[in-house]
Symmetry: C2
Subunit: 359 residues, 2 copies
Amino acid sequence: MERREFIKGLGVAAVTAGVLAFEAPAVWAKGEKVMWRMVTSWTPGMPILQTGAERFAKRVAQLTEGRLTIQVFAGGELVPPMGVFDAVSQGTVQCGHSAAYYWAGKSIAAQWFTTIPFGLNAQGINAWFYNGNGLKLWEEVYAPFNLVPRPAGNTGVQMGGWFNKEIKTIDDFKGLKMRMPGLGGKVIAKAGAAVTLLPAGEIYTSLEKGVLDATEWVGPCHDMRMGFQKVAKFYYAPGWHEPGSALELIINKKAYEELSSDLKAAVDAAAAELNITMLSEFEKENAAALAQLKKEGKVQFRTFSKEILTKLKALSDEVIKEQIEKDPIAQKVHKDFTEFKNLLNPWAAISEKEYYEGI
Amino acid sequence: MERREFIKGLGVAAVTAGVLAFEAPAVWAKGEKVMWRMVTSWTPGMPILQTGAERFAKRVAQLTEGRLTIQVFAGGELVPPMGVFDAVSQGTVQCGHSAAYYWAGKSIAAQWFTTIPFGLNAQGINAWFYNGNGLKLWEEVYAPFNLVPRPAGNTGVQMGGWFNKEIKTIDDFKGLKMRMPGLGGKVIAKAGAAVTLLPAGEIYTSLEKGVLDATEWVGPCHDMRMGFQKVAKFYYAPGWHEPGSALELIINKKAYEELSSDLKAAVDAAAAELNITMLSEFEKENAAALAQLKKEGKVQFRTFSKEILTKLKALSDEVIKEQIEKDPIAQKVHKDFTEFKNLLNPWAAISEKEYYEGI
């Protein structure tokens, strides 16, 4: 039930009972229950992502003692996985859990709030969100759609994908039939790949039958569940196209604004908590899945050479230039994102980079 | 006022007013206000750390609409900076913000919950806390002290310190008069350094007068505030001894257990939120301070060579071995910590490490 309907219903009941003669005390208003529905872009029970959205809803209920309850629907249960943005924007549901780059068709700039090729990793993009202009810009980009965004999870660095042909030079992308959506797909298309956007359910069989030579997905944990290790020879790192994909909580603006300040705080704090715990879970589960894949010993691990990465970076710059030329808002977001990255990088070079060189 | 006193006070007032004839409804109990005091190990107004503790308290008040308010006292305002553990353990105050490694004298194992030389970085230790056994072990170690711990911030990778002599080989530590507390100090003592533990207020003058050759502190943001750039020539990276120091929220166990489940959730969620926002602030502010130092152009930046780091790592292993030999609990914690690091590292090597190599 929507909040307004609830209030309306309560009003009728209250009038019927003739109890509107006194002013409701503050505690009465506090006791009022708000019931929200959340839709996600994930499959039912999908580890880390769908379970994370459900953990968020549970935390909000705990924080508010059930004054704000959120019923979570996986992709397809109420609206299609790619219908999350519209459903929340139009107020069909009050909130959603998804990834901003799915909405490039609504706003080119949205992509920067998930990840861009050779963009920021999780630690970097969170600093941009919380202590740079990242979240402010995201709010600005989403405002015309009646949406309030919050960072709510991160996949960490993704993998570069599964290949049935070795990629020894940039020329090995020529004619490569690869499934790769988004900006990454545009980049390898520039390198000569035949990019396809097969639905998730068709990738496995297509790899098996040779209709596809390669695909990217997420990281070891989710990739293993797709079974790609059974139908692909080589597993490439790193995910240059997704160096730390942020997940989003999106809230219908009117629904958010109708919340009392404590309920708003509950939503915001639970989103921030999900942001850190989801990344931690990705790190742990990807590490465990990688160990399992190595133990099974069937997959050959490869890393893109520096030379290939340098060339992919140059092509990425071209793709991004084309994107921002189309859209002044994306241009503004990219400028701020790039300035922040340029501020962080010299620090990262003597801190985290040094740490990882020592592992 | 403590909760019990409040209830007692309320009882008297209620009896006086003769309103105890009916059973108080659930909402009445909910309206009851809990007032806590927090002590910290930070100086008043200390950026990121003290301001972070204050932001936490503000968030808890928002989440609970003032049903749980936390008055924050900086180090020395109520108890000394190093008196936080005892004050919370004994229930003098209900909670504190500090760093577990300060309490090595209470429990050797406590050090692992902040950082150890060549230990985990922020992303790694958070995965250990939230998705490994880290937080469970921490709770176990703190239980005998009537303390409930929560991860509540991280400094990120620290700096290696300020030096007035170049460190070109491990032998350059011989006779070096350096201020360095904790395990890091024990490690460089093994390398021949004359380790001192001067109070913070005496470091600057000691460096200036040559009483000290070197000191470590935190990272660019806090180091600059100490003015070390004016009295030291070389600024070394990385902080091998503190690759990601976790900060702690500690709560008196009885005070925590007396909270209703929604207030407990408010404390836990706000701590997790502080955990990610504090790290983000450290990243941003350290990057900005580093840029400022470079602009001023007075400091010479250096990085410890691979050879030196390898030797410091070997000495760190010796120090840790000596520590855990003294204490079976520390041994158990170190074993779990090390297993988790060994699980994470192969994944880190093809994900975050690759990311940082490309920056």
